[in-house]
């Protein structure tokens, strides 16, 4: 199986995620985009592990991917909490309104 396919998919997802982070107003949507980026990395790791290094003893690729999934979940949790708190204080979840501090 060709390796470049999963890699390009990962790259695509990653860049779509970046687009979302930059262009979406709603903070929850931004968080979703972040998730896309993290998942893209997992595709890379799994593809490398299973296509290039299937016999690696430490199974680093899979483990890395699993750790990332866990951490990503934690990040989502914390991120949503932040967004929630933001909403409580400011009644908005639009990221581009959050610009009290500048310069």
């Amino acid at each position: 199986m060709s390796l470049v396919g999963p890699l390009l998919l990962a790259t695509f997802l990653f860049c779509v995620g970046i687009y979302g982070v930059i262009a979406r107003r709603n903070a929850v949507l931004v968080l979703m985009s972040v998730e896309l980026m993290l998942n893209a990395v997992n595709i890379n790791l799994v593809a490398f592990q299973n296509l290039l290094f299937p016999a690696e003893a430490a199974v680093s690729g899979h483990l890395f991917a699993l750790f990332i999934i866990a951490v990503a979940a934690a990040e989502v949790g914390v991120g949503l909490a932040i967004v929630l708190n933001l909403f409580r204080t400011r009644a908005t979840v639009n990221v581009d309104d959050v610009d009290l501090m500048r310069w």
Binding site: L7, A10, F14, G17, I18, V21, A27, V30, V34, M37, L38, A40, V41, N44, L45, A47, F48, Q49, L52, F53, E56, A58, S60, G61, L63, F64, F67, I68, V71, A74, E75, V78, G79, A81, I82, V83, N85, L86, R88, T89, R90, V95, V98, D99, L100, M101, R102, W103
Partner: protein, 486 residues
């Protein structure tokens, strides 16, 4: 496989402390909750004890993922010392502000567990986990003043930029794994050294640096720093500015000088240019600031630029230069911790009751509290790098690294460092001037910083001067750094 418990004793001590703090917070009520701070202090002291026990030792455990050597121990001591100082300046701040004391201390300790791991980590996965352990509690702590618009905004920005950077870093790490088939730093170094350097590999290295660049707030990954420092509770800002930054550098050293040492000739110039841009931009922005915390934030950006300079000097296979560079980074971090935590401490003391934080609010501080004014002056002068303070030696070590093997690029870095040091003094002096040369507005009471805060500030001030006179006290770095590669 046997686990070397001694090697991870400091981390375990801190973990247990964190859990005790959490439990205590749940069981204590009202004023008694303030006990968590001394508890944390005790735990930190225990951890320091363990760490000191490890001094001079060389250990490796978890299949080589975790090593103990003097380099790591020194970094751990730096973190634990910072932790002590931050606990000191947190005491009144959190007690009086009716913030979530127990949770705060728990999160703080957790964050420091991540930091303690960083200098010992010799594996990309562990590095990543440790880095996240530093970051995620920090995201929360930045937003701890929940009802404060600025605090939640700070947390928001910090979080978003943080995860974005981590994602970029992870992308890079995944690619590196694809090239090398391993996540061990030593294995990566081996593979990288043997194989030819494909553009994608180099790009991946760069992406990994981005993650650490975020932590150390290097330009252009620095945007969060001023906003977050200004919005966060001040002890958290101090933690972010000092300990978190040092952690970033610990990781960066591991990645740069161990894993990608064979590629040093490629990344060194890039990091060098990054250093120049960082210090220049940081200083230029700082010139504009009227808010002391933002000023310190931009100043810390600039300081990150200085600390990046030695990375710009690295050369693959040139042990003398690389050693000198690591020495410079280490020493600068120690010095930076001492002076910057001190500066934040003073800012907290001034801000604590009155909410004052603009430079003009510091007018006549010398009359309101000579001690604070003197301390702040010392810290600022040290940040600028003038004797008799430790800041001079910090710059000295960088210039020394330049001088070990003089190259045109090294000279350029030195010149930029010098010019920027002078620019930096423009704004440091502005604060100093305001404190000493302007009159305080009528009717302001004398400032009475709390006992803990005073102790921390005074200790750090004396530390700044003492290390300025006898820099050798900060460790004999010549013996330490050669172990960084091990």
């Amino acid at each position: 496989m046997l686990i070397d418990w001694v090697a991870i004793a400091p981390e375990i001590a801190l973990t247990i402390t964190a859990l005790i703090v959490l439990g205590a917070d749940l069981s204590l009520r009202g004023e008694a909750k303030q006990l968590v701070n001394p508890l944390a202090v005790v735990g930190t002291l225990v951890a320091i004890g363990f760490t000191l026990y490890l001094w001079g030792d060389e250990r490796s455990t978890f299949a080589g993922q975790f090593v103990i050597n003097d380099y790591a121990v020194l970094f751990k001591l730096l973190f634990l010392g910072s932790l002590l100082a931050i606990l000191g300046i947190s005491w009144r701040f959190f007690a009086e502000g009716r913030y979530f004391q127990g949770e705060y201390y728990f999160l703080l300790l957790t964050s420091f567990i991540g930091m303690l791991l960083l200098p010992s980590a010799r594996d990309l996965i562990l590095l990543f986990i440790a880095l996240e352990t530093v970051s995620i509690p920090a995201f929360v702590m930045a937003g701890l003043r929940k009802r404060d618009l600025y605090s939640s905004e700070a947390a928001m920005k910090f979080f978003l930029i943080g995860v974005l950077s981590v994602a970029l870093m992870l992308f890079g790490m995944s690619m590196v794994y694809g090239f090398t088939g391993t996540t061990e730093l030593a294995g990566i170094a081996e593979a990288v050294g043997e194989g030819e350097s494909v553009p994608l590999l180099l790009a991946s290295v760069m992406l990994i640096f981005v993650g650490f660049g975020f932590k150390i707030s290097a330009v252009p990954f620095h945007f969060w720093a001023p906003d977050t420092y200004a919005g966060s509770p001040m002890p958290v800002a101090a933690m972010l500015a000092v300990a978190s930054k040092a952690a970033g550098f610990a990781g960066l050293i591991a990645v740069a000088f161990i894993a990608f040492e064979p590629l040093a000739d490629v990344w060194a110039p890039v990091l060098g240019v990054l250093a120049i841009v960082t210090m220049t931009v940081g200083n230029l922005f700082a010139l504009q600031q009227r808010d002391v915390i933002r000023l310190l934030a931009y100043s810390s950006v600039a300081q990150a630029g200085y600390i990046l300079v030695p990375f710009g000097l690295a050369q693959s296979g040139h042990l003398a230069v690389n050693d000198a560079a690591i020495q410079a980074v280490l020493f600068y971090l120690v010095a930076y911790a001492v002076m910057n935590i001190g500066a934040f401490g003073v800012a907290i003391a001034v801000n604590r009751r009155t909410g004052m934080r603009s430079i003009s609010d510091y007018a006549g501080l010398s009359q309101r509290s000579p001690l604070l004014a003197l301390a702040f002056t010392t810290f600022l002068i040290s940040l600028g790098g003038a004797p008799p303070t430790v800041g001079l030696w910090a710059k000295y070590w960088i210039l020394r690294a330049v001088a070990v093997d003089i190259t045109p690029f090294g000279i350029a870095l030195a010149v930029f460092l010098i010019i920027n040091s002078v620019i930096a003094f423009f704004y440091y002096l502005r604060v100093i001037r305001t404190m000493w040369m302007d009159d305080a507005p009528a009717g302001l009471p004398a400032l009475q910083p709390g006992f803990n805060l005073s102790v921390v500030v005074v200790v750090l001030m004396f530390g700044t001067v003492l290390l300025g006179v006898l820099p050798g006290l900060a460790g004999n770095f010549a013996d330490v750094v050669t172990l960084a590669g091990g």
